[in-house]
């Protein structure tokens, strides 16, 4: 029984966080001038008072704020994220529909970046001060400093238009009507450019992180001791250095996975990738608060979960933390 207490406490914490975030976001978003009906009326190019009143009633926006909030929390308690009148479908459906696209894009980009970044960072650390390090560091710096949207547009121009190797945007070729293996390949082709654009930026982060971490660790006393003891480089790296290097790496990975939802707004815009970031941005512009709240809620839950996992990994990797 005692073992379940922390888990229970954690679950309650999660609920508390979720509720708190939902409440704060709900009222914060109401600060935005105009509402969803205003947007639709605005987009229609003309509107009459009756039309607007009818829409307001349909959206449930004509009721006092407290009533709306109460209804929202009630629904939330039943795990119902609400309904988007503008999109004509439930928020949960919308999010689930876009989730695979987001996971694919972010997952690929982060995995690529972590792998490449880790490798390059290690290489740079071990050749610190010499030209491979210089080259890699410069490369990382460039990739970090270049505005993401600019490099994305440049990629489109070079690879899609001039070379015609890859499609311009979207997630798959709609008119082709592919399925199965062919569809997977088609999606893959569409995935390359956006994932590469994102990965470049993340890779820069991981490279610099890995490099700084490794340089720092190698300077530490325990490493010098190990070297003086005659530990071989391979074992030194694996057993002593790598384990210590993974901690900051894992932290960064955690931060990036936490920002999975909504972290790629710009890339999704440039490449018309139907992800959650773009959905959130559109929902903001359209004042479709149910959708935006739903996305923010999912994001916060994800962050809390990821924090837990990272903490658990910390305890696993660093014995010193276990007693804390």
């Amino acid at each position: 029984m005692k073992r379940f207490v922390p888990a229970l406490r954690g679950a309650l914490q999660l609920v508390g966080v979720a509720l708190g975030i939902a409440t704060v976001n709900f009222f914060l978003l109401r600060l935005a001038p105009g509402d969803a009906v205003q947007v639709i009326a605005g987009e229609s190019g003309s509107a009459s008072p009756e039309y607007i009143a009818a829409l307001r009633a349909q959206f449930g926006l004509d009721q006092p704020l407290w009533v709306q909030f109460y209804k929202y929390i009630l629904k939330l308690a039943q795990f119902d994220l609400g309904y988007s009148f503008r999109q004509g479908t439930s928020v949960a459906n919308l999010i689930l529909a876009r989730l695979p696209a987001t996971l694919l894009l972010m997952g690929t980009a982060v995995a690529l970046a972590a792998l490449l970044g880790g490798l390059l960072g290690t290489l740079a650390a071990y050749r610190a001060g010499r030209w491979p390090d210089l080259l890699i560091s410069c490369l990382a710096l460039f990739c970090f400093a270049i505005p993401v949207f600019w490099i994305g547009l440049v990629f489109v121009v070079i690879f899609s238009v001039w070379l015609d190797w890859l499609p311009v945007g979207g997630m798959y070729s709609v008119s082709a009507g592919l399925s199965g293996w062919a569809l997977a390949i088609d999606i893959g082709r569409h995935l390359i450019l956006p994932a590469a654009t994102l990965a470049l930026f993340y890779m820069a982060i991981y490279t610099r992180l890995m490099r700084a971490t490794l340089i720092e660790i190698r300077r530490k006393d325990f490493v010098r001791t190990a070297v003086s003891r005659g530990v071989r480089p391979g074992r030194l790296f694996r057993v002593h250095i790598l384990r210590n290097a993974t901690l900051p790496f894992v932290t960064m990975l955690g931060v990036q996975i936490g920002s999975l939802i909504g972290g790629a707004v710009v890339v999704e815009t440039v490449f018309s990738w139907p992800g959650l970031g773009r959905l959130a941005f559109d929902a903001l512009i359209q004042r479709d608060f149910n959708v935006l709240l739903g996305i923010l809620l999912c994001s916060s839950v994800l962050v809390v979960l990821v924090n837990w996992i990272v903490d658990a990994l910390y305890r696993l990797l660093d014995p010193r933390m276990r007693t804390a």
């Binding site: 001038p33 205003q38 987009e43 003309s46 009756e50 039309y51 311009v168 979207g170 008119s175």
Partner: protein, 541 residues
């Protein structure tokens, strides 16, 4: 010739090029005497993504361009503003303008197989157009009785003459919904709003939100042999650069309502596989203008407004911000609406000295730092052209000593600020005037909608009893000649008071693949169907 042009010979060259270029467009219309070939998939851009798929409940343009392929209009337009039979084979407006008789086509079926009858028209008019459609609520407000003596005749009785109705009976103006799927339901939440059943040339197939919509050929379409295309796919591409690339590569073959930055369009038009089309927008009669909040301290003086007008070089504006597309506007009723346009309205030529004199006269003298007063410019957040317009105006006003701050915001904030709170000085806007001034133009000047948070109505807050009377008279008149006279008097008055400064008669363009034929069937092609489109070689698509 404007002072600007004389100082910059480059402009002359550019405008010559623009004229030549515009001329070459119409010449580029394929004179294809060959018979249309069936087959092929057309990929179109949907930008922005529609919210709802029937124009009976929304007047937004994405809905308009999409829904007319699924729904037919009662009548159709040809290229000269003449009416052609659509779902109505014959129509007749009585001499007193109070009775509209429509004889409907026989044998037309909805996409689910049920027959299209007069009952559908009557039901839609009474329950949808009069209740929910923004424009039609005003248009059909006086329709108090609808008779359907048989399944193919509709007789609409108006309490007052309603000549303007005839200008809005196409698919975009008067879309008929299937009564058997809507009657007794919650109309606004009806699921068929998003999987529409119409009588049109294409059937709805699927909507993958955020990505694409698919239409398929209707094999039982009443216009035998049409449509020629097998499928239409609407793709959602939010980024302008990505749209350009898609059109350039041929992944998309058709995109209307100026889907690209004009500069890219100019470049694409040089390519052999792409054609730029400017016809098909005449029914919209769009004009761009400055709404001036007449309740603000300096702006309430008509001389100040006239000075603002004199301070703007409309030709330079057209060339710089709109890359030469469009025509300088002198009146809110555009010149292509020949019947109603009044070319004799007071003119306000570009004259900086006159502007300064007027401002001095109105008591807005220059201060120690050269500044007369400060205003803000809000612009319609619909694209970079409006932002650049605001920036252009900022510089124009600076020259006469008026400091302007450009303010940026998103659509809901914008409409609330202008039409609700009225917390603004000047805003850059455009309206569609449509084929009758009563439908689209007068709303900017009528006083009944001020401050009620109704988007795209009277932004300036202009109240003039005489203008209200002119408009009311024109609305209730059964004599077209009299209406024309009234609307001309209306133009004279509003162009003297200047609550709203018309700047540009907008010219939209369509980007098409050059092997697509017969792409303009009427003056409302922008909201028209693709039933006449065909590929020179369908096997390539």
């Amino acid at each position: 010739m404007s002072a600007f042009a004389s100082r910059h010979p480059f402009w002359l060259a550019r405008s010559a090029f623009a004229a030549l270029f515009a001329a070459s467009l119409s010449a580029a219309l394929p004179v294809n005497a060959a018979t249309p070939k069936p087959g092929g998939t057309l990929t179109v851009i949907a930008q922005p993504e529609p919210v709802i798929l029937t124009a009976a409940l929304s007047t937004s343009s994405p809905t308009g361009t999409f829904s007319t392929n699924v729904f037919d209009g009662l009548i159709e337009y040809d290229k000269d503003f003449n009416l052609k039979p659509g779902l109505a084979e014959k129509w007749n407006l009585s001499a007193d303008g109070k009775t509209l008789t429509l004889n409907l086509r026989q044998g037309v079926k909805w996409h689910d197989g049920k027959p299209f009858t007069a009952g559908d028209v009557k039901w839609t008019l009474e329950n949808v157009w009069k209740k929910y459609h923004p424009r039609n609520q005003a248009l059909f407000a006086n329709a108090d009785k609808v008779d359907t003596p048989d399944d193919h005749t509709v007789i609409i009785h108006f309490t007052k003459p309603s000549l303007a109705v005839l200008s809005s009976l196409n698919s975009n103006g008067a879309q008929v919904l299937p009564r058997h799927l809507y009657e007794g339901t919650d109309i606004l939440n009806n699921p068929y709003n998003n999987k529409p059943i119409g009588t049109g040339p294409f059937k709805f197939k699927e909507w993958n939100r955020g990505s694409h919509l698919v239409l398929e050929r209707n094999p039982d379409y009443w216009d035998k042999g049409k449509p020629y295309l097998d499928r239409v796919v609407y793709r959602v591409i939010p980024d302008g650069g990505a749209r350009t690339a898609a059109l350039e590569k041929g992944e998309v073959q058709y995109a209307s309502l100026s889907p690209l930055p004009a500069r890219d369009a100019q470049r694409l038009s040089q390519l052999p596989n792409i054609r730029l089309q400017t016809k098909g927008y005449e029914w919209l009669s769009p004009w761009l203008f400055l709404s001036v909040n007449v309740e603000r301290p300096y702006l309430k003086d008509a001389r100040v407004r006239q000075a603002l007008y004199h301070a703007i070089d409309r030709e330079a504006y057209r060339k710089v911000v709109w890359f030469g597309y469009g025509k300088s506007a002198i009146s809110p009723v555009v010149s292509t609406l020949k019947q109603f346009h009044d070319a004799t309205v007071p003119q306000y030529a570009f004259d900086v000295k006159k502007a300064e004199a007027l401002l001095d006269e109105a008591g807005a003298k220059r201060g120690a730092n050269g500044e007369r007063f400060r205003i803000t410019i809000d612009y319609l957040p619909y694209g970079d052209e409006f932002r650049r317009s605001a920036e252009f105006l900022k510089q124009a006003f600076k020259r006469v000593g008026i400091e302007a701050d450009v303010r940026n915001q998103d659509t809901p904030s914008y409409t609330r600020r202008i039409y609700g709170d009225r917390d603004y000085d000047i805003t850059v806007q455009w309206y569609a005037g449509f084929a009758d001034p009563q439908v689209g133009v007068t709303r900017e000047y009528q006083s009944d909608s001020i401050g009620k948070n109704i988007p795209f109505s009277n932004g300036p807050g202009y109240r003039n009893a005489e203008v209200d009377k002119l408009v009311a008279q024109a609305q209730g008149s059964g004599d077209q000649a009299e209406r024309v006279k009234l609307f001309k008097a209306f133009q004279q008055k509003v162009q003297t008071d200047l609550p709203s400064l018309p700047l540009l008669e907008l010219q939209f363009f369509t980007v098409e693949a050059s092997d697509l034929n017969d792409t303009v069937s009427g003056v409302d092609q922008v909201y028209g169907s693709f039933k006449n489109f065909w590929y020179t070689d369908p096997s390539k698509h």
